[in-house]
């Protein structure tokens, strides 16, 4: 399905609201939506919800032979897929541009920044290394896929445990999870992407745009940082013209946001670890809250209506009195009535050209008077008789 085009009214409304520093969901310019992280029963599986945007991340591993020019390093493979359930516009053949962009950004953010120690993934140099595969699936698209995907990827990698391996001389033993506890990956740092949306040629800036805001934005700047304030990736896209100090300002904001998000991630990982150790229930089924109605009253949301009355009075005072309404219908014949008078015919040009040809005879019906017909009865008599019967 093609994407529903955004109407001009909506676009203007969104841009005007942004000019007045207001967002549709009530956030401030630098606020993120609520982030919820939930884990599955297996290690390495998580769902990240950024507002309504949902990304599922799954990490898996396999023993393979290494690349020829990097014989002592493990292999990292990232794949982000835009599932068709995320938005009606995503179709199997149609999404290439966005998909390439997102995938390359994820790759650069996670692989080039060397957040995972690939040397520790080596089992036998030159023969066997671990290949870690991170699969991300977008489940619902409500804007800002990049941030949610990067959080999901790093959380899944932190959560994942690979099977333990021991090497004795030439012998390599791979232990199953039952024999020996699986081992976590060694992660140096956690890069997290922060997106900035620019509007009106770079005058206004928003953090974490939702889907509507993404549609009206001029361009996007993505900065990936870790909590040590090291920038891992910067990418500007969408044809905006930036100035150097804008970029520097965004990087400072990103630093603050990344620190908050990293704290949240660590807390979520800790909670999950605790629950598993204590033998409690974990997994996706547990993390979906039962939405039961437990109260009959909703809390009153305070809305400031102090100036509404004044504004309403102003509008009424300045408005003209309403025009007189004609309420009496004029009855022409049974079945034909008239209320008021219609607007003047606006097909003025067309009528003028017609009138020149017909000389005023076109509109009126021609009354057949005095035409002799074979029946011998004069048509006019029949006509008048018919007419009189109708008027009763």
């Amino acid at each position: 399905m093609k994407e529903t085009p955004l109407s001009n009214c909506e676009r203007r409304f969104l841009l005007r609201a942004i000019e007045e520093k207001k967002r549709l969901d009530g956030r401030q310019t630098y606020d993120y939506r609520n982030i919820r992280i939930s884990f599955g029963t297996d290690y390495g599986c998580c769902i990240v919800e950024l507002g309504k945007t949902r990304v599922l991340g799954q990490v898996s591993c396999e023993l393979v032979s290494p690349k020829l020019n990097r014989a002592t390093e493990g292999i990292l493979f990232f794949n982000l897929e835009l599932s068709q359930m995320a938005a009606p516009a995503f179709e199997p053949g149609r999404q290439s541009d966005l998909l390439v962009k997102l995938n390359r950004l994820m790759e650069r953010c996670l692989r080039n920044s060397k957040c995972i120690d690939t040397e520790s993934l080596c089992v036998v140099a030159g023969e066997k290394v671990w290949q870690i595969r991170v699969d991300l699936h977008l489940l619902n698209h409500d804007g800002n896929i990049i941030d949610a995907a990067s959080i999901a990827a790093i959380v899944a990698l932190c959560h994942f445990r690979r099977p333990d391996v021991s090497v004795q001389g030439d012998e390599v033993t791979l232990y199953t999870p039952e024999e020996r506890d699986p081992v976590p990956l060694s992660i140096h740092h956690m890069p997290i992407c922060v997106s900035f949306a620019f509007f009106q040629q770079g005058t206004y800036l928003l953090v974490d745009p939702n889907e509507r805001e993404e549609r009206v934005m001029d361009g996007l700047l993505v900065i990936a940082m870790n909590k040590h304030r090291e920038i891992c990736t910067i990418q500007s896209s969408g044809g905006i013209m930036l100035l150097k100090d804008q970029v520097l300002r965004c990087s400072k904001i990103a630093g603050v946001k990344v620190a908050e998000i990293t704290e949240l991630i660590l807390k979520a990982l800790e909670n999950d670890q605790k629950v598993r150790k204590e033998g409690g229930k974990f997994g996706f089924a547990e993390s979906i809250a039962n939405q039961r109605i437990t109260a009959f009253k909703m809390e009153k949301a305070p809305i400031d209506t102090s100036d509404v009355e004044e504004k309403a009075e102003e509008i009424i005072a300045e408005a003209e009195p309403p025009s007189e309404v004609v309420s009496t219908p004029v009855l022409w014949t049974p079945g034909t009535a008239q209320i008021g008078e219609g607007v003047e015919n606006s097909w003025g040009d067309l009528e003028d050209s017609e009138k020149e040809d017909d000389e005023g005879g076109g509109d009126q019906a021609i009354i057949l008077d005095g035409i002799k017909m074979d029946t011998g009865v004069e048509v006019s008599d029949i006509g008048s008789q018919v007419y009189s019967s109708n008027s009763e």
Binding site: S96, V100, I231, C232, I234, S237, M241, L243
Partner: protein, 243 residues
């Protein structure tokens, strides 16, 4: 790679340049007779060739035509013999697609697309010696100028890196492969606006400003060079016309 000193104590890099020096740039416009515009640029060992067709009517689906602007279509292809190891898939892979998208984004911002509604401008870039985005953008700028398509300003690009507390301008392949931070910047020199900014690998936030400034300065230096090339080309053409 251990043992490779990217910046010596005296301040010299691996190929003998200083920190802010660019590699030798040689450029030529109008290399193809059939294309509307073409250019060839050599930046050190990196050679890029750009060809521009347009503005012409939209090929393929008419539905893609934009009513008020021209469509810019960019394609990037890297020769199989360009990198150290022979590349197996020269185009269609993700890196090439991404590069094409980035070029398109840069030039959509720079070309005055409002002057040619419902038309299409094609930019094809062929890169030899696995170099960088910068050479592609510089070549494409010259080609677009050669084709006579109106642009807001030159689009000059340069890469920058950061080693041992110093910002390096115009990275060579060796310096890129060493794995340090790399920044690619495309700049419109007159207004100082950044058309595209791309950075890889870890760089502390405090150093960002220095690296950005080094890249911007290098891009401005590239601009003086390209400007000279364009003027030389126009002078040659007018001599041939017998003015």
């Amino acid at each position: 790679m251990a043992g490779l000193e990217l910046l010596s104590d005296q301040g010299y890099r691996v190929d003998g340049r200083r920190a802010g020096e660019l590699r030798k740039i040689q450029a030529r416009m109008g290399v193809f007779a059939q294309a509307d515009g073409s250019a060839y640029i050599e930046q050190g060992n990196t050679k890029a060739l750009a060809v521009v067709y347009g503005p012409h009517e939209i090929r393929g689906s008419r539905a893609r035509a934009l009513p008020d602007r021209a469509l810019v279509n960019c394609q990037y292809s890297s020769a199989t013999f360009s990198t150290g190891e022979r590349k197996r898939r020269p185009h269609g892979d993700r890196k090439s697609c991404e590069m094409g998208l980035q070029l398109r984004q840069t030039f959509e911002a720079a070309i005055l697309t409002q002057l040619h509604p419902r038309s299409q401008i094609d930019i094809y870039v062929l890169q030899a010696d696995g170099g960088t985005y910068a050479a592609c953008v510089n070549a494409a700028t010259l080609a677009v100028l050669d084709a006579g398509i109106p642009m807001r300003d030159f689009v000059c690009a340069c890469s920058a890196g950061f080693v041992d507390g110093t910002a390096l301008a115009d990275l060579s392949h060796v310096e890129e492969a060493a794995g340090g931070p790399q920044l690619a910047l495309a700049l419109l020199p007159a207004s100082g606006q950044i058309a595209l900014l791309e950075m890889d690998a870890r760089l502390h936030e405090d150093h960002l400003e220095r690296v950005l400034e080094a890249a911007a300065q290098a891009a401005r230096d590239v601009h003086t060079l390209l400007d000279r090339v364009v003027r030389q080309h126009v002078r040659e053409a007018s001599i041939l016309l017998g003015d």
